[in-house]
Symmetry: C2
Subunit: 101 residues, 2 copies
DNA sequence: TCGGAATTTCGGGAAATATCGATATGTTTG
DNA sequence: CAAACATATCGATATTTCCCGAAATTCCGA
């Protein structure tokens, strides 16, 4: 967990929002878009794309950036990729920030 | 306190370090450079510049960036500007991060 | 197997950031 | 006042980030 990489990832409103949306998907995505959410897979790229209002490619870039620094994790199921928060990593990060600053 | 501005400010190793150095100046600066530290003024720009190994202008830029987003505060005394952490703001920030993520 | 959907990857132009040296401003001291 | 400092600001260039569209990949269903 590279602290600087994490801060870079969080230096963007959309990426911050994605993390917040994924904290409570039911609050932020229409119910019919969350069919596989109960299986704890997360939310798929196209739903996040819609919500973010950006192009699919940008959204995909953002998601893989968040994944690279460990904040979220991906599960591929057929043609969909579901992303969810990596709560353990986020907790670790919070502790790290707490200690460092 | 703009969260994004804070994350941008922290997306740089030197700026992170400055915050950490200022947490415990005695640990990070030679004693003879901390003559006014006991007055709770902070550490002056040239000492931080030396420690950072960057140009004075860059260091000054960094400090005013950190100041703009509220993480540190400045006190001008004669020709010197002393910077110290804004512990209240940093605490607020930690709580904000805790809540948001 | 073919067409289409979801996603990723790639290349690029515009905008923002990093970092410097030069310059400007304000301060102290002779 | 002039010289010497400490710091801040400005202008320039190199690098990075933002965000897109096009193309590639993977998977599914007819």
């Amino acid at each position: 967990m590279e602290l600087i990489m994490v801060f870079k990832a969080l230096s963007n409103e959309t990426r911050i929002n994605i993390l917040i949306w994924l904290k409570e998907p039911r609050l932020h995505f229409p119910a019919e878009e969350l069919q596989d959410y109960d299986a704890n897979l997360g939310v798929c790229v196209s739903d996040i794309t819609k919500k973010a209002g950006l192009s699919p490619s940008t959204t995909s870039d953002y998601l893989s950036l968040l994944q690279k620094c460990g904040l979220i994790e991906a599960t591929r199921v057929g043609q969909w990729t579901y992303y969810k928060r990596n709560e353990g990593a986020i907790e670790t990060l919070n502790n790290l920030i707490q200690k460092a600053f």
